[in-house]
Symmetry: C2
Subunit: 247 residues, 2 copies
DNA sequence: CGCCAACTTGATGGCTGTCAAGTCAGGTGG
DNA sequence: CCACCTGACTTGACAGCCATCAAGTTGGCG
């Protein structure tokens, strides 16, 4: 039996737990597979489970044996230094994969924490490897997903290495907006799942700086912000901010 | 015929161009393969070529069809913003792979530039995929290499997001030292292949800041620096610097 | 209603960027 | 062989962005 859906969402979604029915299959691992191949992937994705807000999906140092596809919800991944400093390495939403970092050493190298009640599909990695030896499309798509993660990380390095505070936040908002759009949500009206501190950690800023930048964007009419509720009023304005020369 | 080795190195090295003879095979893609599998990989690595200092191995936007293993030499990869800002995303040395970013979109997303006369082995990607469908060990190792790249990027994000200038530079030097060690070179005495500006771009700092940090490390007896020649005098000191709390 | 976490806003300071001048090393040409 | 040139590097003075510290506000929840 499929696991229950959390809180608000209704039975229709509960039924569609197989990859073949999942409305995220164009964003997720199944992309490009035939009907028959999809059925085989369904067998592979054995475990679907719920992760409550605040719970760890996995922890740094823990043994790696599966990657995870997000069916619904929102996660962050972070790395902790011995001295307590935290770096958020990413925010993940429905259709995205978690755990790729663990392949390297067979142990996870970061923590994955749900920022809202979420549902994930566990994909045993050794089985994914053997199936992708048989299904060319799956193999190639998996490689693309890993590569995309590398490219994404380069983007974050760019952001952290060369951009000023307001440019970073503008880039962050535009990125979120674009990913919400790809999932059928409004590009201009959404709720942040993370705190100012988590945004700051991701962007290499302190929470006060994030807060001030939000206020400034609002004063200048680029966005309307009320706590975690964001409305983007001027996409072009944000893009201009993002590309502004340093000084 | 194998390509000529550049400058200083001698004939013995020239002969060993096949993966099966390459002294980097424990660091590179062949790791863990049997003799017979190695022979097959040799067939795959069709092209070996030289890239002179300053030349591009590939450019952002260029078509992707192969990944590259570095036989000898030193590279940097970087991303350029429209407004001219540069972010160096990595420095690569012998035995490391270049071009993984291109799998995602079938186009390279960064530039790869030789920082000294180098030699690379081109590995056609579609052939690598089909061979890794047959050789389990190769498949798994390739996945590990991609994952390691993701983990490395997280480390850089940590560095850029949470560390101060001197911590970043200490971490950078220790990382270089460790990679030289793995290749049989001195951990404590080496030449930098990149300029202060390139180090700065990688670390999210200006070249003057890098220069000042080098000078400070020298004053404090952690290193001896003379232009590009670095001698590490106090590894523990650098490690302590790296882990120092912010303020 | 009170509590607490999350957030906002202000005042101040410091790290690092910016600007500028000078030094060093290597290569070229006379 | 040496003067010259150029790119890379070093060092100093100053400034600005963002961190830090602090106080107050908001919203959610028991």
């Amino acid at each position: 039996m499929p696991p229950e859906k959390s809180t608000q969402e209704i039975t229709l979604a509960v039924i569609q737990t197989a990859c073949s029915n999942c409305n995220l299959r164009e964003l997720c691992l199944p992309l490009g597979l035939s009907e028959e191949e999809l059925d085989r992937l369904d067998d592979l994705v054995s475990t679907r489970r719920r992760v409550k807000r605040g719970e760890y999906l996995y922890r740094a140092g823990g043994e790696f044996d599966a990657i995870y596809a997000i069916r619904s919800g929102f996660f962050k991944t972070d790395v902790l230094l011995e001295d307590g400093r935290e770096q958020v390495t990413g925010f993940q939403m429905a259709g995205e994969l978690l755990g790729l970092d663990g392949i390297s050493t067979e142990h996870h190298t970061c923590n994955a924490i749900a920022l809202e009640d979420s549902e994930i599909c566990a994909i045993p990695f050794s089985q994914l490897e053997s199936m992708s030896r048989e299904i060319h499309t799956l193999q190639h798509h998996f490689h693309k997903v890993m590569s995309r993660e590398i490219v994404r990380d380069h983007g974050v390095m760019m952001l952290l290495g060369t951009m000023r505070a307001e440019e970073r936040l503008a880039a962050f908002l535009l990125n979120l907006s674009q990913r919400f759009t790809a999932r059928g949500y409004s590009h201009a009206d959404f709720f942040l799942r993370m705190t100012r501190e988590e945004i700051g950690s991701y962007l290499g800023l302190k929470l006060e700086t994030v807060s001030r930048a939000f206020s400034r964007f609002q004063e200048e009419g680029h966005i309307a912000v009320q706590q975690k509720h964001i409305r983007i009023l001027n996409v072009a304005g944000l893009k201009a901010l993002m590309n502004h020369q340093p000084i």
